[in-house]
């Protein structure tokens, strides 16, 4: 169980940057009063960011992942979260096995 000094420096740097991003929104938002387009842009933050994180896996990895993502979307429209995850994982396993 060893910790290399440079590795520790990298982890601490990542941690500091990450906490800065986590607290910054709480500090800055108090000055914002949003309406119209700005409000619409703000409301779009949640889906825009989540989609951006997973789009490469869903669209630019392979047809199995893309098809599994489509199956997962159908599941998400009618099933609870954990069942959706289970359907998605089973779909990708089945499709990769079929390939």
């Amino acid at each position: 169980m060893s910790v290399d000094p440079t590795t520790l420096a990298a982890i601490v740097a990542m941690a500091v940057v990450t906490y800065a991003t986590r607290i910054a929104g709480f500090l800055l938002a108090d000055r914002l009063v949003l309406r119209g387009r700005a409000k619409a842009a703000f409301d779009a933050i949640p889906p825009a960011v989540l989609v951006a994180v997973i789009a490469p896996t869903a669209l630019a990895t392979g047809w199995q992942e893309t098809l599994a993502a489509a199956v997962t979307i159908l599941a998400a429209l009618r099933l609870p979260l954990l069942a959706t995850v289970a359907v998605g994982v089973l779909a990708v396993v089945a499709l990769r096995a079929a390939a």
Binding site: M1, S2, V3, D4, T7, L8, A9, A10, I11, A13, M14, V17, T18, Y19, T21, R22, I23, G25, F26, A29, R35, G36, R37, A38, K39, A40, A41, D43, A44, I45, P46, P47, A48, V49, L50, V51, A52, A55, P56, T57, A58, L59, A60, E65, A68, T72, I73, A75, L77, P80, L81, L82, T84, V85, G88, V89, L90, V92, V93, R96
Partner: protein, 236 residues
């Protein structure tokens, strides 16, 4: 009501636990996968665990493993982490109007355990009511504990885990996010946001590679939503 309401606080915390439970279960294989991959990259079990303790941001941690070489590129890792986690700024800002009852100390602590999953669940809850500290710390505070424990487990299991792709564990993250996005659906504007973000993110991922796709997709989705929105003060 001026009197404290411990029963209501406990009930609210219970709702938070119930809401985060699927994400807690889903994050076990993902964190274990991170631990196993980290050890494969040359990190010790302690180092892999320490990263999950101090950073606990899945996307940034996986991206760090992609960039990880020896000597360790500290600045590149910090930059990649900043880009991927820049979304936290927007997430925290969007939570502020919904956490009016939080003290400053509670906000500092709330920010510390801000994750995609907790935030998405809190946003969904905020469609109907204010977010209380008991709800937030239940929905947000438990996930890092599972993430840390499963990281240590995965790092320890290491090569015994076998190929995680065979088990589909690598897709759990994607499936979880699809479920969270479905919970945020609010009509046509959401659809336009999703299409713009997905297209920009995938394109930038192919052309420039990670981590730029996150910022590009988020910017495209937000811009698209602003463009199709009715302008001015008439908007509700």
């Amino acid at each position: 009501m001026s009197r404290p309401m411990p029963d209501a606080t406990i009930a609210t915390a219970g709702e938070g636990v119930r809401d985060i439970l699927p994400a807690m279960i889903a994050c076990v294989p993902i964190a274990a996968l991170f631990g196993a991959l980290a050890v494969g990259k040359g990190l010790s079990i302690a180092e892999a665990g320490l990263m999950s303790i101090l950073v606990f941001a899945g996307g940034a941690q996986f991206a760090a493993l992609e960039l990880w070489t020896y000597p360790v590129p500290v600045l590149a890792l910090a930059l990649s982490t900043l880009l991927i986690n820049a979304r936290h700024v927007l997430m925290g800002a969007s939570l502020v109007p919904k956490v009016g009852g939080f003290s400053w100390l509670q906000r500092i602590a709330a920010a510390w355990c801000l994750t995609d999953e907790a935030w998405a669940l809190a946003e969904r809850r905020a469609l109907g009511r204010q977010i209380t500290p008991s709800y937030w710390f239940a929905v947000a505070g438990l996930l890092p504990l599972v993430w840390i424990a499963a990281t240590f487990l995965g790092a320890w299991l290491g090569s015994f885990l076998g190929d995680p792709r065979r088990l589909g564990a690598d897709f759990a993250f994607t499936a979880l996010f699809i479920g969270l996005i479905a919970g945020l659906w609010r009509g046509r504007a959401t659809g336009i946001t999703i299409v713009a973000s997905a297209a920009a993110s995938a394109l930038v991922y192919v052309v420039l590679g990670p981590p730029w796709h996150v910022a590009a997709g988020a910017a495209a989705g937000i811009t698209a939503a602003a463009c199709v929105a009715p302008s001015g003060r008439a908007a509700s």
